[in-house]
Amino acid sequence: MKTTKQVIRLNVNGSEFEVAVKPYDVLLDVIRERLNFTGTKRGCDMGTCGCCAVLVDGRARLSCLTLVLDCIDKEITTIEGLKKGELDPLQRTFAEAGGSQCGFCTQGFIMAAKTLLQDNHNPTRPEIEEAISGNLCRCTGYIKIIDAIEMAAAQIENKQGSINGK
């Protein structure tokens, strides 16, 4: 039971945290229980629901299956870190489109969508469906989640269009 801890530095939401961890500690336990970023949810602890997804170097990862030692020198972004001054478009569109009912799965979907929209600015509905198929929602039937991601994609596209003078 006694395992030696080691002190590591973890970069979460742009801040550096020093934490003592065991080799088998998973990222979810550290960010939720130790660093109090409770926006990341614990739904199953076995990679089946997607509620614990966070961005590691910009890509969605299931924090319940990610060893924290694998995250040294990486940038971790939780839902709390998505809003920088203003909300991320996905945070608004999930609310506006009705993509969040009980809300427990929401942040995981936003992380999956964030990753998708980085690769694909104008995804089709089937592409969105595939991108979020690792996340479980029991309230919405996914329809309004897909609506929300489409809305966000359109907003980002418009914004970039206007920046590029289109």
Binding site: F37, R42, E130
Partner: protein, 783 residues
């Protein structure tokens, strides 16, 4: 009755949930996000046996482990005090007591609670559980319903009937079913088999309890029915209710699975009292499945008789219901499987026998569409057979047999608003039914089914005269409108609904309104988020309170301006004299006048269901299924079935639902879409299978639900029948919309490949086997 006062446009408008941004930013606080100073982790030791008497429990080693603060067993005071959501069926205990007689001395399913510990960390608590020594005397388990019907010397629970494991038997008979059946032109029916399913909410079950220095207990818990928990805690803790405070933080989905007072809530409270520290108990996903309370496995025999023109004459239903180890809502389930089956159709002759049995398996309870889903599948499938045998279009057959609005059913239900006809006509038109039914190419099919559900139970499960729901409103000089009402927001949008029902009569913007619905110390009683009651009951209570505040503001404005009160309306944040709109005060000015010499404005609204009509006391169970109003649905589903593999793909659903009036169309759509997802899961893939009493695959890897890629295109059709007593005409939208999807798909499968399915889920292997039995050649349609 002003049923549709929508002049301010707050109700009826697509409105994002008032707490949505809290959820999308991670700011929302769910129970597991809370930590208290000195908080301990509670863990429960669970039974590896289906049925066993506890001879002894030794927790001494566990208690001696460093970091363990308390161990709890049935020896502790309160642990064996019975509780249950229904006061007529209290058969649950926190922990069994070694050597005790009857139910108190036993574990009764694999996963049942044996003992518990509170420790500094989860790691220590889990290590401590391993040090608890338990001696079991293993008893023969009852795992099948047929077994449970037999006489036994060792019933699972003490309140069993007939010397067997029958928990509840219901018998009702109206008219003369055998005689009418005998002489009817056509009789159709069959034996149906439904497996159990689980709610699958994403937030695991959780509670945190703190028994504090003042000898008060506070519990934070993911609950749909905080008030029923409050009552159970007062029994188990042997404390007056006023020394117990129930707080419901945000809840990550319920669907009926968080609508019982649970043993872990008692255990956390008892542990906290024992070690005087806050104790949090969080289930892992396996424990959530073990706790279950999902839909009951059921065997249903149904027969429907009709005349040659397709008029339905008689209905006979016999349901054998597997309750698992505890009672939960089971008495209600036993009734609902029968009493909710005939509507939305008129039926003059109706007979029902329902038997719910105890088995040594995880307890079953309420789940979305409680009690009505399985019989609805059997009924609507049988209607499809009647229609085909009589060569009547299934939509026409249904239209021929509708209950009229403002009528009474044979079993005493008062039907008021009823939009079924419009539901059928719209679903038929939008789906292109007439061009598709029986005319799609082989392997493609279309099916129709209707639904009918309560909008709250008119009868209280605790026999008393208290209102079903109470709402308080307070407005002080800051101009913010605070609503207090314990209606449990579980993601369905009830806080938003309350805010709309208050903002509309006051003519104010939604952002002026704050909803407090989570704290029993400050928020008045609402009976909880179950039986689709909140919009109708809490909505009415909140609206009534708001109208009283409106009247106060009008009076103060009339006094200030010198014009008669009768002419004033509240609109767009102003109190306006309608005959001359130049005469007006802003909301804040009117408020200041009303507050002067008076202080904060307060008002209370309460909802009490109207007394039942017709059959009061005339037969046993006359209260079951009585609702102040009912919701109605008609769905059409179109499927594609692979002719070789029998893999079913639901392509389209046209979902017409009569919700009275859509206070928030965005939320109504969300409820309907969510219902379709959950209903399709039960129809096509979800099942809780057991091996020797152990749940197989109690996790989301093995318990599959529909992925986004498997969802059909859904055309939501909102039908508004304007209920005369609903708030602004509204009624329920959260459960009824689940009912028709399952039989609509089953009927569509028949249309596609000619295989009649009488067992859920309709997996490819089962469809193939049914095809073999029914002599249907693969890939061929029957004529």
């Amino acid at each position: 009755m002003e049923s549709k006062m929508t002049s301010n446009g707050i109700v009826g408008k697509r409105t994002p949930l008032v707490d949505a941004l809290k959820k999308t930013t991670g700011e929302g606080i769910y129970t597991d996000d809370l930590k208290l100073p000195g908080m301990l982790v509670g863990k429960i030791l669970r039974s590896p046996h289906s049925h066993a008497r506890i001879k002894s429990i030794d927790t001494s080693e566990a208690e001696n482990l460093k970091g363990v603060h308390a161990a709890l067993t049935g020896h502790d005071s309160g642990a064996t005090i019975r509780f249950g959501v229904l006061p007529i069926s209290k058969d649950e205990i926190a922990l069994p007591k070694p050597g005790a007689a009857g139910r108190e001395g036993k574990v009764i399913y694999i996963g049942d609670c044996v003992a518990a510990v509170a420790a500094e960390s989860e790691e220590i608590a889990l290590a401590a559980l391993k040090l608890i020594k338990v001696e079991y005397e293993i008893l023969p388990p009852i795992l099948k319903m047929e077994q449970a019907l037999k006489e036994t010397d060792e019933p699972i629970q003490d309140d069993c009937k007939f010397g067997t494991n029958v928990h509840k038997e219901v018998k009702q008979h109206f008219g003369n079913v055998p005689e009418v059946m005998e002489s009817a032109a056509i009789r159709k029916g069959g034996k149906y088999d439904f497996i159990g399913i689980n709610h699958g909410f994403t937030e695991p079950i959780i509670a945190m309890a703190h028994y504090d220095a003042d000898d008060r207990l506070t519990i934070w818990t993911a609950q749909q029915v905080p008030h029923y928990l409050h009552r159970a805690l007062t029994d188990v803790m042997e404390m007056p209710m006023h020394r117990i405070r129930v707080i419901r933080p945000m809840v990550g989905g319920g669907f009926g699975g968080k609508s019982d007072p649970f043993p872990h809530e008692m255990i956390a409270s008892l542990l906290s009292r024992k070690c005087r520290r806050p104790v949090k108990i969080l289930f892992d996903r396996e424990e959530v499945f073990l706790n279950n309370h999902g839909r009951h496995p059921t065997q249903t025999n149904i027969t429907i008789a009709a005349n040659a023109e397709g008029k339905l004459l008689a209905l006979d239903v016999d349901a054998l219901i597997d309750g698992g180890a505890w009672g939960s809502f089971g008495v209600v389930t036993s009734y609902y499987n029968g009493v909710l089956s005939a509507g939305p159709y008129a039926m003059e002759n109706f007979r029902y026998r329902g038997r719910r049995v105890y088995t040594n398996k995880a307890p079953c309870g309420a789940m979305r569409g409680h009690g009505a889903v399985n019989t609805r599948f059997a009924f609507e499938t049988t209607l499809d057979e009647v229609a085909r045998d009589l060569s009547i279009d299934p939509c026409d057959l249904r239209l021929k047999n509708l209950l009229p609005p403002n009528s009474e059913t044979i079993n005493g239900f008062r039907i008021t608003s009823n939009g079924t006809r419009e539901c059928i006509e719209k679903a038929r038109e939008r789906s292109g039914w007439d061009k598709k039914y029986g005319k799609l190419p082989p392997g493609e099919g279309i099916g129709v089914a209707c639904g009918f559900y309560i909008s709250g139970s008119a009868h209280r499960i605790y026999f008393n005269e208290l209102p079903h729901s109470t709402a308080h409103i307070k407005i002080d000089m800051d101009g913010g409108v605070t609503i207090h009402c314990m209606a449990a927001e579980i993601g369905q949008g009830s806080d938003t609904m309350l805010a709309q029902c208050v903002a509309e009569p006051l003519g104010i913007k939604l952002d002026r309104v704050r909803v407090c619905s989570s704290d029993s110390d400050t928020d008045p009683i609402d009976l909880g988020s179950y039986s689709s009651r909140v919009t109708f009951m809490a909505g009415n209570a909140a609206k009534e309170a708001a109208e009283k505040i409106r009247d106060k503001l009008i009076l103060s404005t009339a006094k200030k301006t010198g014009y008669p009160a009768k002419g004033f309306i509240l609109h767009d944040e102003r109190v306006i004299y309608q005959p001359n709109p130049e005469i007006s005060l802003s909301f804040q000015e009117a408020l200041n006048e009303a507050l002067a010499g008076n202080g904060a404005l307060m008002a209370k609204g309460a909802y009490v269901a109207p007394p039942p009509i017709g059959r009061k006391g005339e037969f046993k169970g006359w209260r079951a299924g009585l609702s102040p109003t009912y919701s109605f649905q008609c769905y059409v589903a179109q499927v594609k079935v692979d002719p070789e593999t029998f893999d079913v793909r639901v392509k389209n659903v046209w979902a017409a639902h009569d919700c009275g009036f859509a206070l928030n169309p965005l939320a109504v759509e969300g409820q309907i879409e969510g219902c379709i997802h959950m209903g399709l899961g039960q129809a096509l893939m979800e099942d809780m299978t057991y091996n020797k009493g152990a749940i197989q695959g109690p996790n989301f890897l093995d318990y599959r639900t529909l992925t986004p890629m498997q969802m059909p295109d859904v055309d939501v059709i909102i039908v508004e029948s304007n209920d005369p007593e609903g708030p602004f005409g509204a009624k329920e939208a959260g459960e009824g919309p689940l009912l028709p999807i399952l039989p609509a798909v089953g009927n569509a499968i028949y249309d596609a490949v000619g295989v009649r399915m009488r067992s859920l889920p309709m997996t490819p292997d089962k469809i193939w086997r049914a095809a073999q039995r029914q002599g249907v050649e693969q890939g061929k349609k029957s004529v």
